[in-house]
Amino acid sequence: MAGSNPNAKPMDLTLKIWRQKDRNTAGQLVTYPLKNISPDMSFLEMLDVLNEELLVRGEEPVAFDHDCREGICGMCSLFINGRAHGPERGTTTCQLHMRHFNHGDTITIEPWRAAAFPVHKDLIVDRSAFDRIQQAGGYVSVNTGGVPDANEIPIPKTIADKAFDAATCIGCGACVAACKNASAMLFVSAKVSQLAMLPQGKVEAKTRAENMVAQMDVEGFGACSNTGACAAECPVGISLDNIAMLNREYLGAKASSENV
């Protein structure tokens, strides 16, 4: 099977990859030369090629998280050449292609760095803190069944669209990785504002904002410095407006909720 671009020349690369045995062992950057990489490959396919070479040599392949390889599951991560998900904006690592690199490049690949995201192995980190934040209130408390007809709750299209924009967060953690404070505000704000905008979510909006922020703090994420790095590196373009909305919701909730 020939490539889609027959003129694309294969590249030789030098990879510097973070290798770490497990959570309790110190890690280090290890250098791997890699030859003959097609520019049409995705970044993860390039790592697949490296891993096959390592396996054939009897070495331990590089562990990295990935699943859908379509940019939607949020499983892939990787801090590539000093950027979360690599140099292309609005792109997850799995959708990053090697044509954005050049022959002879050295590529540094590190895991997300945050106290709340401890390294499991090599490039795999533990993002369960995100799940715990969602468990603290990222839902509308309705049981299955007994809900009104879907069209009984009209929602202005503009609001529905804005809520959708916030709801597209894939939970990859690039915001935390890119933030100088390893803050999870963009992630938390996406869910809080999605539900705060919709009538279904308004009922519990106050408690939700209070509880999710409390859990975010417990997990050890940093505070927001409004640098905007999170939104700039977010592969799905979650807006900073959500953080402002979270701040507003949180302050309003703290001032007026009955939770003392």
């Binding site: 099977m1 697949d48 090629v49 390889r69 192995k121 795999i124 509308v140 879907a150 809520a163």
Partner: protein
Amino acid sequence: MILDSKIPEGALAEKWDKHKFNVKLVNPANKRKYDIIVVGTGLAGASAAATLGELGYNVKAFCFQDSPRRAHSIAAQGGINAAKNYQNDGDSIFRLFYDTIKGGDYRAREANVYRLAQVSVNIIDQCVAQGVPFAREYGGLLANRSFGGAQVSRTFYARGQTGQQLLLGAYSALNRQIAYGKVKMYPRTEMLDLVMVDGKARGIVVRNLITGKIESHSAHAVVLATGGYGNVFFLSTNAMGSNATAAWRAHKKGALFANPCFTQIHPTCIPVSGEYQSKLTLMSESLRNDGRVWVPKTVEIAQRLRKGEITVNDIKEEDRDYYLERKYPAFGNLVPRDVASRNAKLMCDEGRGVGASGLAVYLDFADAIRREGQPAIAAKYGNLFDMYAKITDENPYEKPMRIYPAVHYTMGGLWVDYNLMTNIPGLYATGECNFSDHGANRLGASALMQGLADGYFVIPYTIGDYLAQTPYDKVSVDHPAFKEAEQNVKATTDRLLAIKGNRTVDDFHKALGLLMWDYCGMARNAEGLQFAKHEIRKLRDEFWQNVKVTGVNEELNQTLEKAHRVADFLELGELMVDDALNRNESCGGHFREEYQTPENEALRDDENYAYVAAWEFTGVGNEPVLHKEELKFENVKLTQRSYK
């Protein structure tokens, strides 16, 4: 073994309501005495775990991903069907039922499909109540679109990310139950065996993917919601981790596997670009609403195009063959997936394929852009166009997209009765993991519907019926059945690690995938299938002698994880071939070249093959035993599907 589908008596429209009344209930205070295991947290699993938790059962939920939100349901793009008839365009529960049965080429159970259509309306209500941001009209009400060749607009959608939004809805419901302590979540944990005590499913053995620890979990019932087995083909639109291991190991413990040869090949995927390709990316079927599919009229033009002597825009209008519009004037580019896929293959087989490999056809938006303007097209498909450009480095606004069919969904799966219970008491299968609702071909926007129908609205009733007749007694994980299963898992793992051969797991997987694609893919014939069966056996033998798995069990070991999965694919692949060989007819996604009309359309044999082929495992390398469940059609007339 006699397969009892347990379809309730009575008129089609009343079966489910009557059944809901007839099932036994578990007293609210007693629900907490029952433990239920749910494996998989996609739409079917997350919705089931959440709902069962709400009802008061103790639920343990497992997924191999790092979070339940990653399940591959998240990647579904187009939408979810529901017979709401909000558009007043003639839709009804019966029409959705009829379309699904017909689309499935009359190889699905009437009663199951009717129930699916009935509860479809509840799903939309439920999701909206959860805060799922479906597309809306300016008046604030929900928007619909026509999808996958349906003649009515019954598809609800959230841009091109409907699966994501629905899954996050189910995930949020699941999170709520986790917070309440009713569901205990085990992420990064893979089921490796089913444990049976006294002939009933009583638990599972899992491997903690971080520590490698083999652990047992006991329960009163086990629900498998582990998705499909499309990754048998190595290249598919499935996620890299999607696997058949849980279902296959249940099969090896006695659960029948039904219609394994029914695989859906999706027509609009981005073509393969090289040997290194790790997966295929789907472009939503909605693109066919505006895109026109064509190939060059002659082999000669196609050849010049492939050699790069001319470019696509050099080909004159009269030299383009819009073959779907030509062959199917009524449905045109919107013919069902199996028809669209097979025709793309036919064109490429004729030598009229495009792209460097010749394995692609064009999907052209030039007319739509001329008609509606680029901004309108960008508003509809912008994210898909961007995705295409990102992957191929080509601008689809200027050059037609190149597309080719790819394995997408598996209609086959564990055999289940009307209650979604397999032939093993206490073992349930939901969503893509079971075989029940889509027959030989699934319609677009119906997978999300089935996953959520099973999880939110079917299993919560039917599992209660079983539990109400089950004593509260728990089985200890020290029971010999658990110990034996653990030993077996450890033995398999040790064996994989001890081989220390020369060929990597991926290499075996790719070889299997190629065999399956070439001989058990879009078109099959007896000779090819027999050859494939022989080759798969050879490959499997080599796997167990020459596979190379590094590292140890007691660590995060992705190679070992893959080795377990590929070992199962190597067995399942053979069963798919067996099933395809057995079914001497063409229907839906199963196209046997020997059985076609003069116009190359699928030729069904209702007299001899209107049955569900449910296979019983008899040992690796032994011939499986076929059990037939005859399909009775009392409410629809079997006709030759025609989209002309």
